[in-house]
Amino acid sequence: MINKQYVIVLLLILTCLSCNKSKNENDQALLFWSSNNRGEIEFTEYFVNQWNDKKTTPLKFQPIPEGQSSEEVILASVVGKTTPDIYANMWQGSVEMYAKAGVLVPLDTLEGFTEFIKARCTKKVLEEITSSDGHIYQVPWKINPIMTIYNKRLESDFDLPSLPLSYDMYLEAGEKIKADNDKDGYIDQYVGYTAVKVIWFERLMNFYPLYIAASDGGQLIKDNEAAFNNDHAVGVFRFLQELYQKEYFSKERLSAGQDRFITEDIYTKWTGPWEIRHVDKFKQRNDFKFDFYPMPVPKGHSGPVYTYSDPKNIVVFNTCKNPQKAWEFIKTLVTKEGDKKLLEITTQLPNRKNLITDITFQDYFKTHPKMKAFAEQANYIKGIDNCEIIVEVFDIISQEYEACVIYNKKTPEKAIADAAKAVDNLLKN
């Protein structure tokens, strides 16, 4: 009869052995994580297959594992040292933290990177992606500039002299559009809507693009100090505060409800190019017409209107055994052919200069006129300041935004000054 103790010990040894990492020929393969957006999966599959057909270094691809957010999944993988070699879709604001922690490969140390990236991107974008240590840790990949989408009935039904391009015109439109259609004593038709939730990233869709527009691409953080305690930020808070005070905007949270732009209860909102497919797919009448114009600006503003570009970039983690090969693959994604495919498959704009004049993309914009508006806007964009604690900065602004804009508990001047003071304290510590 077999001794039970020996069986238990044997089982424990087998368990330990089964946990041992197996080594096989696939260890040399590069691992690429894309976002789990359907279009991006299709886009990535196309290029991975192309690479694997031609090259000797195999490339494995998978969408980022499921999690609450891609940021959390990436963080968990960094902590567990299970990062992929390449990750596409990294929010520009997260890069500085990872760069400072030393988990990213400085791409400017790779052969051919600097020349390629200088040819692809504007000087402004290059400045933006250069880390505080002078290295570049990200490949500027795609952008989704934030603009104002509007229902074309805005022009025909409300006797507006023109599109509400400035704060005063927007407020005037708000007064004309505000209505109680079901006669229950409450407003149910508004000029626009933007998220009211206090969560920091909601400010990327309202305060931040408006601030960039008003300040012609101004910074939030400069030389490790708050740079937003100025008339532009105060003006944005005042404009938004008035929209809520006069009930031109609804304070309701609409995240899980019906899209009220599609149901035509609101006539504008601030959004990116992803909205085109969404509205076309879900619109309730075939003759529903919409278009885009830049973010509203203060009265008297002149020159082009800037906006937030919502940049997502590609990074190589330091767990990558062959960063040069990784860069060679990334390069295939961001060539003109790659960028054209990105446009066609995902309806997202590549972060490259001369997008609108480059002959490669002209056919696309001829057949997709709404995307052309975004491509034109792409000449006047700003991403995120290089700041390790940018999320906390946005959270502080968000707290003040709620107190001032939504609940009118503070004046815009006080709210912005308080936010700047809190950010300065944070940066000093």
């Binding site: 963080l75 030393g102 939730k197 206090v198 309701e252 949270r253 409800g257 107190a403």
Partner: protein, 285 residues
């Protein structure tokens, strides 16, 4: 020799689990309270910096007050509703099984699903509750928009979600009361209220204690509801302590500080539960 080692081998899976998943994290967390750490960079020794920061952090104290506000609304609501429903289900009524299952259903439904459902009900313009209020000529209520009401709305929802669990506990308690007590009281001419006050309540006191303890601990861990519905707003009125600790850890990556808050919070919960236990035991004496 064989007999000496076999028990240790048999308990070793649990011991291993305890060391890896309980003892090590607790000890590591304790060490972490004296450090600054953003998970991905090396830890920096910070002495009592995190503790000093905690005592000066107004937002943390506000989140604690909010959590206590939630408990003050939630626990009485929870006891009253679940006891009333348990009393109802303890009678000889038709479809008893259906009602029991129906009341228990929200307990097993995902908290996220329940929260999204209630978010729709609480909507200001298009929510069902406000539509009902307007239809009978009343004013709309800012269920999640009014800072003075939002925590109450969340407590109402949490009560609805958990009531089924406590109904079951109370039902068990009610069924342990010997029926001849009620028979004797009836012969003496006691009313329903007198029977409930003088027989039922004293007899189910241990169950009430358990419900108070469980709903206190559950209430202290308030997270999903404000996280999804309000993000801690309006004006931080629904920012619970757990949500604040979560934000410190996973939004700002202040791991050392969040663990310090977590330790303090755990000790606080322990203190509250011990006080509750003593108070209820005194009542029993």
């Amino acid at each position: 020799m064989k007999k000496k080692w076999l028990p240790y081998i048999l308990v070793s899976p649990y011991i291993l689990h305890f060391i890896v998943f309980v003892a090590f994290p607790v000890l590591f967390s304790l060490v972490l309270t004296f450090h600054e750490w953003n998970i991905i960079s090396p830890m920096k020794f910070n002495g009592f910096g995190n503790y000093i920061k905690m005592f000066n952090d107004r937002m943390f104290w506000k989140s604690l007050i909010n959590t206590f506000k939630f408990l003050i609304i939630h626990i009485p609501l929870q006891i009253i509703f679940s006891l009333a429903l348990a009393e109802f289900l303890n009678q000889n009524i038709k479809f008893k099984g259906f009602f029991r299952a129906a009341f228990f259903l929200p307990v097993i439904v995902s908290g996220v699903v329940v929260t999204i459902l209630w978010q729709q009900l609480f909507g200001f313009d298009s929510g069902l509750f406000n539509r009902m209020l307007v239809s009978i000529g009343l004013s709309k209520v800012g269920w999640l928009l009014d800072p003075s009401i939002a925590m109450g709305s969340i407590a109402l929802m949490a009560t609805w979600k958990n009531v089924g669990l406590y109904v079951i506990l109370f039902l068990v308690g009610l069924q342990t009361v010997p029926p001849h007590y009620y028979e004797a009281a009836s012969i003496e001419g006691a009313t329903h209220w007198q029977k409930f006050r003088n027989i039922t309540l004293p007899m189910i006191n241990p169950t009430i204690f358990m419900v108070v303890i469980l709903s206190t601990i559950g209430g202290f861990s308030l997270f999903i509801e404000p996280y999804i519905m309000t993000g801690g707003g309006p004006l931080s009125s629904t920012l619970s302590s757990v949500l604040y600790i979560y934000k410190q850890a996973f939004q700002y990556f202040h791991m050392g500080y969040s663990v310090t808050l977590g330790f303090f919070f755990a000790i606080l919960i322990l203190g509250v539960v011990v006080i509750q236990k003593k108070y209820i035991e005194q009542g029993e004496d």
